[in-house]
Point group: C2
Chain length 226, copies 2
Amino acid sequence: MKLNTDTITPSTVKVVKLEQEILAANEVTAAANRSLLQSKKIFAINFISSPGSGKTTLLVETLKALHGSVRCAVIEGDQQTTNDADRIAETGVPVVQINTISACHLEAVMVQQALNQLPLDNIDLLFIENVGNLVCPAEYDLGEQEKVVMMSVTEGEDKPIKYPLAFHLATALVLTKIDLMPYLRFDKQRCVENAYKIHPGLPIIETSAYTKEGMIPWLEWLKGKI
Amino acid sequence: MKLNTDTITPSTVKVVKLEQEILAANEVTAAANRSLLQSKKIFAINFISSPGSGKTTLLVETLKALHGSVRCAVIEGDQQTTNDADRIAETGVPVVQINTISACHLEAVMVQQALNQLPLDNIDLLFIENVGNLVCPAEYDLGEQEKVVMMSVTEGEDKPIKYPLAFHLATALVLTKIDLMPYLRFDKQRCVENAYKIHPGLPIIETSAYTKEGMIPWLEWLKGKI
């Protein structure tokens, strides 16, 4: 018995209006970040995913693989802790940790402050790891060139249609933890179909940071950007 | 080389002030929801987790197991789609789907509207499945009696310390997908320690909706509440 499937939305116009103001202010700072990055010839990627989908683990493997050929840097976004920045720092790559405290996403102004602390003249590729959240991070332009959405195969096939904006805006979908596929009821074909419903032709790269499967196509995709 | 781990927070006081106004208005509606639920002798649980941690799957198994002994109902929160409500509806339990569109969390006013559509005189236990997100859902009281936080063992041991508020406020942590443990490098002991850092003594219930492991302690925990 399904009683109702109508849309129930927040009732206060005030919230929407203010959100628009915040987003408009964010756009201005994002444009400044983008100009700065372009002037320094830095390609910046905004990584968006659920918590625990494996962003940092893939990033660590990526940084190791690019060591010596591409000059990378990382901005880490988390509500709390410097765990992720600590993991990145072990690779020797410059990293700035942003702790958002109560905010569920990075905003352009936070990235602007982080950029001030990075050696911008010595960076080709900047990874911005957003707060683990498939919703709000997609709404805030940080000044990056492209967004990459990641999801682990343990999360289920329906994520692209339940959280469409991130998949709509991304220029690639990285499927992570594919080494777990034999132990899951994950229907990859349905996941791909769902992703294409939101973003026809979206490049989909299947990876496992543990078995290293898919790392070569992923690195090729990255190198094609710089 | 870790350049900086200082906290960078949003710079606009305006945002914080308005957030406080929104939260204050939410509290009023949440209190009204709580009164209504208490007057109807309904125990309401607010389920919070990342996307894809298995909330709906566990819920479906829970509803099947409680069929005939406890009168349940469900409020489903998602940005988009009625997928989850459709899955719940197959169990025969009353369900209302809330689509939040751009919002990354449920608010009390949405739950208030959903309650109007449920047969409140015939419900003992109400499950409110929040939007898949470990951040903002923890900030919004919906009028529930208790919050339960869920995380899948695929998400990593650090989630309690990276997203502390949900773990702080919850009265139980349900670890899901424990059937996948043999294939992961998940350190359960460290996860438990992290959870206790945030919430000493938090009851932790290990479950697998596939193997049904842990369902009995979970159902006992639920029955103890009503």
